[in-house]
């Protein structure tokens, strides 16, 4: 059952990314291109996604997930170096290719060979992340 609903969620997510235009790297780069021909679409996508999710978070209060377990605990208020360094690196790659992890997976069936090249590099980056995280912590601790 958990896998079934994960499949459903993934399917709706992938379809939403296609419908919204967020698997089109030009639209994403257009949103980030504040000094060029700016495309505001991504703001509507993010707004449209946050509204149902904000309602969902409200609905979690005093309840449990339908399939058991617990809802994720509130996020730690601690920010940390890895959050900032990671977000800067992620954003730079996002701007460079116009792809983030969700659309990279959602567009695999229609993105051609380039989509697989990006995905393979992204997975290599994910594999390398744990030691890099330790390294950032070390630098932050010694400074």
């Amino acid at each position: 059952m958990r896998a079934l609903f994960a499949f459903v969620a993934g399917g709706i997510f992938g379809t939403g990314l296609l419908v919204s235009g967020m698997t089109d790297t030009r639209k994403v780069q257009g949103w980030l291109d504040v000094f060029g021909d700016w495309d505001p679409t991504l703001a509507f996508v993010l707004g449209g996604a946050i509204i149902p999710m904000a309602i969902a978070w409200r609905f979690t209060v005093g309840r449990r997930p339908q399939l058991g377990g617990e809802f994720p605990p509130p996020p730690e208020p601690k920010l940390g170096h890895n959050l900032v360094v990671g977000s800067l690196l992620f954003g730079a790659g996002w701007g460079l290719a116009g792809l983030c992890p969700g659309p990279a997976m959602a567009s695999l069936s229609y993105g051609g060979l380039g989509g697989f090249v990006f995905l393979a590099a992204m997975m290599a980056g994910m594999f390398a992340a744990p030691p890099v995280r330790g390294w950032v912590d070390g630098l932050a601790g010694s400074s």
Partner: protein
Amino acid sequence: MEQDWIWGLVGGGLIGTAAAVYLLINGRIMGASGILGGLVDGSGWHHWAERVAFIVGIVLVPIAFVPLYTEVDTHISSNYAVLIVAGLLVGVGSRLANGCTSGHGVCGISRFSLRGIVATVFYLMAGGVAVLLFKHILGVI
């Protein structure tokens, strides 16, 4: 072109609905980088079936909708060096930050998470600088 914002809103609504399903039914945060990254580095192998099912859904279900469009073009760069550098940055960065556009952006901001908001501000800034640098100054994209 004028309808782009409407489709953005509709697609965004689907993305938020997907995140709500994953939260309310499975009790989990729908973060694309976390779901895939946990399989890649082994930290999420105890939830492997759920993660694999999610990825199968995100990859395969859009195939049913692509024929509704006269053309679907991701306009992805044909420069593999650009794709490899960008992919490495996205992979490392999203895992260091513990989230990407879906986890921090959609799921984090909607619960007013300070971490989600801070991450979103930094990756938007870096993305804007990257497009300015690589498109307008260096002209490689």
